[in-house]
């Protein structure tokens, strides 16, 4: 009997192929939409994470408390050992030190007198260390003129700042700041390139310096304001939270104000609120999407069922009982729903995966790369993506045919015939 029903199902395209197509298209769109929204959220997290918060960040306790002032006198020391330990213990993440600092940039003339001057903020990166900073920050593409620092003492400054200071690649720029111990620091650099950051505050006056140079300049040997860690290829909140909990538990005993403390991305810059907000917005969008899909599939199930009242009438006359007919209808729709949802999920996931890995490079299209705004749009597959389409796809198909099937019970058998004969 099951074989008999399956034969009918396979041979009748109106009952198999078309509904499966409808289901799989609906499910595919839902799955893809979900990965798209997840990708968008992830993108915003990512640009924050890349330049500022990291997926996780380690600072000294007192630095963390005042981090808006970038108090380098409170910086972490013994960085080399700590980094080595992190890289050994948690090798699946990339770890890299950074120093944020502020100061004056002074452009001297030939005589060494100030030609122009501006306040500036700076970020010191381990340009060529194992942290992979150059790729992470897309620095190469964000260059407007010049090249990456290659030799000691070379820096990058924002293109806007360079224009305001009327300086160019190859010129000397003097940083006037303060050392870790509060003394005045004056250090000469050479501008090797100019950058577009893609964010007003940074473009107004920011520079990138190699961390080795800044340690020399600010007397911060073996120290760093922060160590940031990145997961590859994507941010996973659960993993981050457990790494954080474990790291911090090692240092709870220690009441030294310079003891390291880990903050996750969510703990910084109000990103938690943002995440909750974005997730609820995308949750709502997905809900609407799933709702529409369910309606369509439900309707498909209904039409499929009603179209078959004639066949059902014959089967009842021949002596199949109503329960049997009903069950076989529901079973058929479950098979259709399953096949369609499976195909749709696989196609949707495949497409999502492809765009997750490859990315769509909007920067190329717009010819407008910058450091902070990601120009590669990526989808993102989360655990939810696996079932967000499948479950409603299956349920709504089955529910549709269950509702259509109620007609079998409600109508007199002879009435089903009437509908069959016209």
């Amino acid at each position: 009997m099951i074989r008999f029903l399956l034969k009918g199902l396979v041979r009748d395209r109106h009952r198999s192929l078309f509904p499966i197509l409808v289901v799989s298209i609906g499910v595919m769109l839902t799955v893809f939409a979900h990965s798209w929204f997840s990708g968008m959220i992830n993108d915003i997290i990512d640009s924050n994470a890349k330049f500022d918060t990291g997926h996780i960040k380690i600072m000294s306790r007192s630095y963390a408390e005042n981090k808006d002032q970038t108090p380098n006198d409170l910086a972490l020391t013994g960085i080399n050992d700590l980094l080595q330990q992190l890289r050994d213990d948690i090798p699946e993440m990339a770890w890299t030190p950074r120093i944020k600092f502020g100061g004056l940039i002074d452009i001297p003339d030939e005589a060494g007198e100030t030609r122009s001057q501006s306040p500036a903020m700076g970020v010191a990166l381990d340009f060529y260390g194992p942290g992979g900073e150059v790729e992470r920050l897309n620095i190469q593409n964000a260059l407007v003129t010049g090249r990456l620092p290659r030799n000691p003492g070379e820096i990058l400054i924002s293109d806007e700042l360079a224009q305001r200071l009327e300086t160019k690649v190859g010129d000397t720029a003097t940083l006037i700041g303060s050392t870790m111990y509060g003394a005045m620091a004056v250090h000469n650099f050479t501008i090797s390139g100019t950058l577009k950051f893609g964010m007003k505050a940074m473009d107004r006056g920011a520079m990138l310096v190699d961390i080795h140079d800044i340690r020399l300049a600010l007397d911060m040997d073996d120290a760093a304001g922060e160590i940031v860690g990145y997961m590859h290829p994507i941010y996973k909140d659960n993993t981050i939270q457990s790494i954080k909990a474990e790291f911090n538990s090692l240092h709870t005993e220690n009441d030294d104000e310079f003891a390291p403390v880990m903050l996750s991305l969510r703990d910084q810059n109000g990103l938690n609120d943002y995440l909750v907000y974005a997730e609820s917005i995308s949750g709502m969008l997905i809900f609407v999407f799933v709702g529409i899909m369910s309606l369509v599939l439900w309707n498909t199930g209904l039409i499929g069922g009603i179209r078959r009242y004639g066949e059902i009438g014959v089967r009842l006359a021949i002596g199949e009982n109503k329960g049997g007919v009903y069950r076989s209808m529901v079973l058929e729709s479950a098979a259709i729903g399953f096949a369609g949802s499976l195909i749709g999920s696989i196609l949707g996931l495949a497409l999502a995966y492809w765009i997750q890995v490859k990315g769509i490079n909007l920067g190329d299209m717009m010819g407008n790369s910058s450091l902070l705004i990601s120009n590669i749009v990526r989808t993102r597959i989360t655990e939810q993506t696996y079932y967000i389409g499948f479950i409603p796809g299956l349920l709504s198909t089955v529910l549709g045919s269950m509702l259509a099937g109620i007609g079998i019970y409600k109508r007199q058998t002879a009435q089903l015939f009437k509908e069959l004969e016209v």
Partner: protein, 232 residues
């Protein structure tokens, strides 16, 4: 009760709701039908022929009075038991054939046996037999769409008789067929009636059918206007 009584009805009445009022489709029908009869229900359109067949076939139930079919009072049968009764004992033939289009001739005829959960080789023998009866053994693998109307109706007959039911109910089986096919169909049914002892009741307008009948019941406005034995 006479064991030869296949069907008895007592004051069988069927009313359908019609807006505010009711429409009486069958009015006080008293009938006794014995095993092996070959009966035609005739009468003008709307006289209640289809309604009566539906009730005798347990697809519908009387409003008043009773119909006892093969020892079962139809009013007391559950859905399940009436389905079982139809499956085992009653074959249906329809004016519009009502074959299942996606299945082959063989599979259409096999369907009632699948419901009876018979084994494969037993099913095969019975289907082949039934197709031989109606002269379509060589078309077993065809789909209904590839057959003529007459051939389709013969498949429907094979499907009705494959399980060797006690009773076959046919609603205007020849209405969509030409003269030649109509005669062929009736001869087939006549032979089955003789050789298997199957009881046939069919509703018909068709003059060509009258000559084959052993008994003719005329309905008019839901009542029996005439009930006569034609040959014996």
């Amino acid at each position: 009760m006479d064991n030869n009584h296949l069907i008895t009805t007592e004051n069988l009445t069927k009313r359908f709701p019609m807006g505010q009022t009711e429409l009486t489709a069958l009015n006080n029908i008293n009938l006794t039908i014995r095993k092996g009869e070959f009966i035609g229900l005739v009468g003008p359109s709307g006289s209640g022929k289809t309604t009566l067949l539906n009730i005798l076939g347990t697809l519908d139930s009387p409003t008043e009075g009773s119909a006892v079919v093969l020892g079962n009072n139809t009013a007391e049968l559950s859905h399940k038991n009436s389905a079982k009764l139809r499956n085992l004992q009653i074959g249906f033939i329809f004016q519009t054939f009502n074959l299942l289009p996606v299945y082959t001739v063989y599979e259409n005829v096999e369907f009632p046996l699948l419901l009876q959960k018979l084994g494969k080789s037993q099913r095969h023998d019975m289907v082949v037999d039934a197709l031989k009866w109606v002269g379509l053994a060589d078309r077993a693998k065809s789909k209904p769409a590839q057959l003529s109307g007459g051939q389709c109706q013969r498949v429907a007959i094979a499907r009705a008789i494959v399980k060797k039911p006690a009773l076959v109910l046919a609603d205007e089986p020849t209405a969509n067929l030409d003269a030649k096919n109509s005669h062929h169909i009736l001869k087939t049914m006549e032979t089955l009636n003789k050789e298997l002892g199957t009881t046939f009741i069919f509703a018909t307008h068709d003059e060509k059918v009258i000559g084959y009948l052993k008994r003719q019941i005329t309905l008019d406005d839901g009542q029996i206007a005439n009930d006569q034995v034609l040959k014996g």
